[in-house]
Amino acid sequence: MRIEFPLWKPVLIAGASLAVVCACAIGGPGYDGYEGAGYVGGYYEPWGYDYGGWGRGYRVGPPRRGFGRDGGHGSPGGRPTHVGRPAPSIPGRPRR
């Protein structure tokens, strides 16, 4: 005598549970996606910030108004650029 029970159900759910646990453990695209108390923000970045290599001339700051004139570079990637017009600076008005 052979009697079959629907054992595929617990097997399927166990597999789904395992998949969920594995997905949580592996995480997203290199970032830690934990949301404490539902807060969206606060992401640990992948390790590996290298801050060497800022050689002479590597400047990241804003231009001063009227001093950082556009050098007439092309339009990489086809994006529009303002050629010849000076780049604006940061706000200069002091807080009231």
Binding site: S17, P62, S89
Partner: protein, 333 residues
Amino acid sequence: MDRGAAAAEHLPKTTSMEKQTMKVLLDRHRRRASHGVAALAGLLACATLPAEGASAATPLQLPAITDAAAMEHHPGKVIWADLVTPDLAAAERFYGGLFGWTFQDIRAGDFDYAVATLGGHPVAGMFQKPIPAGQHRQPAWLTFIAVRDVEEASREALSHGAKSLAPPKTYAGRGGQAVFTDPQGAVFAVLASSSGDGSDYLAAPGEWIWSSLLTGDPGRSAGFYKAVFGYDVFDLPSDDGAQHVILAADDYARAGIHTLPPGHRHPHWINFIRVADASRSAAQAVALGGRILVEPHADRHGGQVAVVADPMGAPIGLMEWSDQYTQDEAELK
């Protein structure tokens, strides 16, 4: 007729009592299997629901990012930054000592957050959470860019190649925010502030003055941020072989995009705090347990910039900006 009874009916040469006994055994076996299914379903629910449950139990209310009465909106302006750190108390000691910030702690359940203020004005947020066990992660400041509608901005970002790290969510007091990686992998956030974006003024020492994106292809990145935030894009002269781009809105420079220097692997945003003396602040950062990542050096505007790491490793920029520049601008107009 249920399946157990049907199976018992088809058993050959069995007495009525034997059939009844068999039916009871089969029913018991079936109930055990059903209980197992229910237990596994419960386990699955427990594995997937805790974040939602915590969220429902402790709804977050965050302070407004600006105390200005005027509801000004400046899409594209960098209006906020959140630090993620494994040690909030240590972060408060470091940033309080370096910039004179004071802190308003907000705790709800497992949520440890602090709002940094300077002169009574909100400056930044700090969020404590443990670094996942066994993982080598980098504490970092998350850059928030102003948008009018977080849902619309999210659709725009995703349609131009961004990936969502956290979908739009609204917090009472603050507004709606969402987190993404841009097409080259740099993390940024958008914020539709319910209190407005604050007026445009020159940052005081201790406040954010500038933001830079270091990335592999500045031209491609500029195209993405222009499409999502509507920036005007300016190329800057370069004598270092790197490409430097300014993103502008409202006729103000809002951020820079720069080619990753040699040896850098990971595209990322970095934000700069205005300081009176970058060399002195960098030395002070070391005295407070931090370290210098980029030594102070002159930048294009004439002032010094430096990059330091806090004691937990999060990088932050220091930038001098002389009030004399403002006077020069006034004379130019």
